[in-house]
Every structure is written in structure tokens, then in C-alpha cells.
């Protein structure tokens, strides 16, 4: 399979004013720090992590949707899109679309559903009015909305239906990649299943590639082929689904997986909960060594000396830990 997306040394930093600093004293918060990953065509890569880990920033940087200073390379079908000027982004935006987390705030309340879905076609393509009408009608059908709902406003839909509108909008330009930023976390549990099933059906029907941002590991296990675990801006583990869930190898991944409450009695009995104490470090004042060392249950002296690199521990599994370098 070809690599549709290749991310190399992606770094995103935001200028912030240092507390107590003098006039013009500026420092940078590095939200995403030297991240590498690839996404194959037709596959789903998950980026998981907790609030502040940089997972959303990394994904939005790939869509050229962050205001921070972005460096590195983001190659879409072999072509780096980071150097492109704003006006040259149209072709890339047709190929990369986003489904946002909050279906309440990501739809313009003053636009009708059909206008919301049609908007990317208006701004990114030269299609005729009739072509666009046909595409919008097909999309409504594809995401499970009724044709008579086209003229309604967002407030007349339920949360799940609004997310369907957001999905139809993302599909309108026939993108290669869809970035799904926590697409179900704002929805009620029963509605989540409807949307997750829809996303999988659409992936099969349209041959879509997903970059899936989530903090819900159950959803990730269900949806994704490979997973990158982020902590404080770094990827700490990167593996295919089965390796990650059957053999988590970074202590943070282990803690994260063990923390998920489950109804599976066998899993509950077999999993020893690993509690990680305290809070993540201050992102403006990162420790010198491993960023997880202060909370890590197995940290040793060398962990606070030097930062571990992402290295293979076994086939299909990379881990950034001094104490877990298996190969």
C-alpha cells in the first residue's frame, strides 16, 4: 500500500508571554514536538492522549488549520503542503477535510443544512449549481438524513443529526483524508454507535483514510488500524492495533489502558490498575529527560537525564522509553 500521508519532524509552537517577564519577553509553548508518522491509504490512524497532549494540534496542523509556527514536513501524496501559500491551499483542502468535535458550535446557526453541506463545493470547486445540488442530495442520503431536512437550520436537528451534517460537509469535496477530531465525544452513548457505524460504512464505500483523534480507547480499538499515543507533545508509543492493545509497552500507555473502566469482567480481573500520581509537567518548563519520568512508576535516574527516542521494540511497535527497548 502507498503512504498517503507522511509526517516528518512536525513541530508546532505558539508564542506566549512569559509570566513576570518584561516588555516583549516572549517564549514558546511547543505543543507538538518533532513528531513522525505515516498514514496508509484506506487506513485509520488514531492519535490518542489526554488533554494537552498535542493530539488535536498535530492533526489540525496537517490540515493547515493552526495559527502556531509549524515546521517539519507534511507530505500528502508525496508533496509537502507546509510551504504552500494560503491561496494555493485549495487543492489540498479538497483532499483533506475535518469533522469537528462539537456539532453544536461547528455549524453556522444561520445557515440552512444544505448550504452548510454545499459550502466547501462553493469555495473549493468550480462545479455548476446543478452539479452541486446533485452532490448535496446524494450526501444527505449517504449520511442518513432525509431530503426534506435540507432546508432546516442546525437548531432544528439533534446532536447526532448535526454531526451527520458535519460529516456530509466533510465528504462534499470527495476528500482522500478526513481528520476526525473527537467526532463522537460530545454525543450521547446511544448516538455514538450510530455515528461510528456510519463512519465505518463511509470509509468502505468511499475508500476514505481517517486520522482519528480520540481520548476514548474503546472507540479507538473499534475504529483504528494503528495508533500513536501522545504525551506532552511527543509520541511515546506507535503501534498497530493488536500490538498496542495486547502488548502496551510504554509505561504511560500501560497506565492509560489500565485506567479505562470496562464491562468485560475477564479484562477487569486480568488488568492491574496502574495509577499514575500527580499532574503532567508545565509545558513551558519541560523537564530535561523523559517528560513522563516524574509520574512514571518505573523511572530510573537516567530517565531524568536524557530524553528517550522512539525506537522499535518489536515488529510494528515503536516505543520511546529507556527501560523498554526490547529489540
Amino acid at each position: 500500500m502507498t503512504e498517503l500521508l507522511e509526517i516528518e519532524n512536525l513541530t508546532v509552537r505558539f508564542p506566549v508571554r512569559r509570566k513576570g517577564g518584561g516588555f516583549g519577553a516572549k517564549t514558546y509553548l511547543t505543543a507538538v514536538d518533532n513528531v513522525d508518522f505515516t498514514v496508509k491509504k484506506g487506513e485509520t490512524l488514531a492519535i490518542v492522549g489526554e488533554s494537552g497532549s498535542g493530539k488535536t494540534t498535530a492533526a489540525l496542523a496537517i490540515a493547515r488549520l493552526v495559527s502556531g509556527e509549524t515546521t517539519g514536513e507534511v507530505r500528502l501524496e508525496g508533496k509537502d503542503i507546509l510551504p504552500l501559500a494560503q491561496e494555493d491551499l485549495k487543492a489540498m483542502r479538497r483532499k483533506v477535510q475535518v469533522i469537528f468535535q462539537d456539532p453544536y458550535s461547528s455549524l453556522n446557526p444561520r445557515q440552512r443544512a444544505e448550504d452548510i453541506v454545499r459550502e466547501p463545493l462553493d469555495s473549493l470547486t468550480d462545479k455548476t449549481v446543478n452539479e452541486k445540488r446533485g452532490i448535496v442530495d446524494d450526501l444527505f442520503k449517504a449520511v442518513g438524513l432525509r431530503p426534506e431536512q435540507k432546508r432546516l437550520f442546525p437548531h432544528q436537528f439533534s446532536g447526532g443529526q448535526r454531526q451527520r451534517i458535519g460529516i456530509a460537509r466533510a465528504l462534499s469535496t470527495r476528500p482522500e483524508v478526513i481528520i476526525c477530531d473527537e467526532p463522537v465525544s460530545a454525543l450521547d452513548v446511544a448516538v455514538q454507535a450510530q455515528i461510528l457505524n456510519l463512519l465505518r460504512r463511509l470509509q468502505a464505500d468511499f475508500g476514505l483514510t481517517y486520522l482519528f483523534i480520540s481520548h476514548d480507547l474503546g472507540v479507538v480499538q473499534h475504529m483504528c488500524d494503528s495508533i500513536a499515543v501522545m504525551y506532552m507533545g511527543k509520541i511515546v508509543e506507535y503501534a498497530d492495533r493488536i500490538s498496542l492493545f495486547s502488548n502496551p509497552s510504554h509505561p504511560y500507555t500501560e497506565a492509560l489502558l489500565s485506567a479505562v473502566p470496562t464491562v468485560d469482567a475477564r479484562r477487569r480481573a486480568e488488568t492491574k490498575r496502574i495509577l499514575i500520581p500527580g499532574d503532567p509537567p508545565d509545558p513551558l518548563n519541560l523537564p530535561k529527560g523523559c517528560r513522563f519520568a516524574s509520574r512514571c512508576p518505573i523511572a530510573e535516574a537516567r530517565c531524568s537525564q536524557s530524553e528517550p527516542a522512539l525506537k522499535p521494540v518489536r515488529d510494528g511497535q515503536l516505543v520511546a522509553c529507556h527501560l523498554r527497548d526490547g529489540l
Binding site: D188, A190, L196, F245, A259, V260, V263, A265, L275, D279
Partner: protein, 328 residues
């Protein structure tokens, strides 16, 4: 032994522009001493309303107890005066809310907010209450409690704020702690810390816990019994493990299997998730004499549309309000 809390045929009506709707419709349940139960269901099914009714905090002028009893320690709270309820709240029954960001007062230090409860209910002096606040922060595992007691909420992380909320709720050693989605706004590793803390505190103090959640995994972990609510009515009640193994109401079954849970064996074939089609009905449909879940149910028959299903009891101690409970 008499249960600590006994709710009998509770009916709560909410007045809306469209008319009066029963947000809680004939709900009965019990909570034992040192027991942990969970209310489960989607938004708009009456879980939080039940909690607010027990606290005597129904939205004034809009919601009221129309009939039924809430008997706490032998006393019917639906008949209690406002002064008596104020005396109970935060003292014998306390509550922690979903949003630790907005439930603390931003202009008081966390120490002052913990001390306030103790001064109000236990007449402690300013100094004694301050010292007790430090001890409570220590009990909820805030590092360096002596220093942090003077922090304002904005100086703390989400998990720490929720710990402060727990410290406030537990300050007077309540008999019942109601936790309304206590970890929904928190990261999963922080959730694990909070659950661990709640379990330990319960072991030490014997407090009974009512947890409201939509996460079956959290229920499996925290509660002994669960009550599944749908559209203001009890759909199913029983021991957590038994319900997870064999739910007797199609709604419960749907709630359990519509969520992708992490499985012990990740190599399993990933099938489509079981969907519960549609959404919870609006208030206008509440209270009708039929099964309110019928429109979303894959086992629906004419009977379901004709009359409200009775509660069917099973030997396992489960009961389910479904005409076809025996076949589920």
C-alpha cells in the same frame, strides 16, 4: 434493617411552555447503608432530576414533587421545610457535580470554600475550620495541602478541582454522597484516580454513594446495583454484574452493546456496533400510557404501544419494565 433512603412512587412534574410533563414518573428504589448504586441512561432520562429531588434542589417554580415519598432515615423529605433541607444538604446528603470548573466559586480560595461547610453545619471556629480544610485536602490526596489551601480554583487542574469538590462534599461525613457524572469532564487517568479515591473514602467512612453516569464501564467498576432510567421511568434495576451478563430490558441491552468496550482479546473481529436508532423522546411524550422506548425498540409489538409495561421480577433480583422481558 430499614434502608437509608427509600423512594416510593415518586412523580416529579416540570412545567414547561408546552404544559406539565412528568420528568420522573412513578419511580421507586432503595439505597442501603454503605451501598453504592448507579443511575444510568442517556441525557434527558431523569437521572439528574432524581438527584436534585433528593437534595431538595428542584428548579424553583418549574419543577415540583407531585406525589410520592423520599424517605431518608425515616423522615419524608418531600414534606420537610426549607430550613430542615438546608440543614441536611452538605451535612447528611451532599453532592458533587459534573463540572469542577464551574461548581467552585472563583473568588474564594479552596480552603475558604471547604471551611464554609464546616462553619455552617458544625459551628467550627475560623481556625478550626481552616485546619480541618487542610486535613480534608490531604484526605483527597492534594499534595502539599498546607500550601494549596490558599489557592484559588484557577490555580488548580481539573482533577484537583474535582478533589476539592469531593473534600467539600465529604467535609461533614455525609451518609449519602450523590455524584452526578463526577468524571465526565476529566481525563481517563484522572478518572481512575478519582474512582480510587471515592472507593477508599467510602471504605473509611461508610458513606453510601449514588453515582449518575452514562458509562457502563464506570458502573461496573463503582456500583453494586444499577438503575437504568428511560424517559423518566425505571427501565431496569438489578445487580450490576447480573445486568451486564444478561440484561432484561432491550434498552439496557442496547446501552451495554452500543459502546465499543476495550476487550481482553484485541484480535476479535470488529463487527458493527449495535445501534439504538433515534433519540430519547421529548418531554411532551413523557407520561403516556405505553412503552416510551417502543419507537426505538427492535422487539416492539402492538402491546407495547397499548399500555405502560409493568415491572417484571426475576429470581436474580432483577426487574425490568418490559412486556417481553422474559424473552430478552
Amino acid at each position: 434493617m430499614e434502608p437509608l433512603l427509600k423512594v416510593e412512587n415518586l412523580r416529579i412534574e416540570l412545567s414547561t411552555r408546552a404544559g406539565v410533563a412528568p420528568v420522573i414518573d412513578d419511580l421507586s428504589f432503595e439505597l442501603g447503608h454503605n451501598e453504592s448504586i448507579s443511575f444510568v441512561g442517556e441525557s434527558g432520562c431523569g437521572k439528574s432530576m432524581t438527584a436534585l429531588a433528593i437534595m431538595g434542589l428542584l428548579p424553583e417554580g418549574i419543577g415540583k414533587v407531585a406525589s410520592g415519598k423520599i424517605i431518608f432515615d425515616g423522615e419524608d423529605l418531600t414534606k420537610a421545610s426549607e430550613a430542615r433541607l438546608r440543614d441536611l444538604r452538605g451535612n447528611d446528603i451532599s453532592m458533587i457535580f459534573q463540572e469542577p470548573m464551574t461548581s467552585l466559586n472563583p473568588v474564594y480560595t479552596v480552603g475558604e470554600q471547604i471551611a464554609e461547610v464546616l462553619r455552617e453545619h458544625q459551628n467550627l471556629s475560623k481556625v478550626a475550620a481552616h485546619n480541618a480544610a487542610i486535613e480534608l485536602l490531604d484526605a483527597v490526596r492534594i499534595p502539599n495541602p498546607k500550601g494549596r489551601v490558599n489557592d484559588y480554583p484557577f490555580q488548580m487542574s481539573g482533577g484537583q478541582r474535582q478533589r476539592v469538590m469531593i473534600a467539600i462534599a465529604l467535609a461533614c461525613k455525609p451518609k449519602i454522597l450523590i455524584a452526578d457524572e463526577p468524571t465526565t469532564a476529566l481525563d481517563v487517568t484522572v478518572q481512575a484516580q478519582i474512582f480510587d479515591l471515592l472507593r477508599d473514602l467510602r471504605d473509611q467512612t461508610g458513606t453510601s454513594i449514588i453515582m449518575i453516569t452514562h458509562d457502563m464501564g464506570a458502573v461496573a467498576e463503582m456500583a453494586e446495583r444499577m438503575i437504568v432510567m428511560y424517559a423518566g421511568r425505571k427501565a431496569e434495576e438489578g445487580k450490576v454484574q447480573q445486568i451486564i451478563e444478561h440484561a432484561r430490558h432491550p434498552y439496557t441491552k442496547g446501552l451495554i452493546s452500543c459502546v465499543p468496550h476495550i476487550m481482553a482479546d484485541p484480535a476479535f473481529e470488529r463487527e458493527e456496533l449495535l445501534e439504538i436508532p433515534g433519540i430519547v423522546p421529548g418531554l411532551a411524550e413523557f407520561g403516556q400510557d405505553r412503552c416510551l422506548f417502543a419507537a426505538r425498540c427492535n422487539m416492539v409489538t402492538d402491546k407495547c404501544l397499548g399500555a405502560r409495561p409493568p415491572e417484571v421480577s426475576f429470581d436474580t433480583g432483577q426487574n425490568a419494565a418490559c412486556w417481553r422481558a422474559e424473552e430478552v
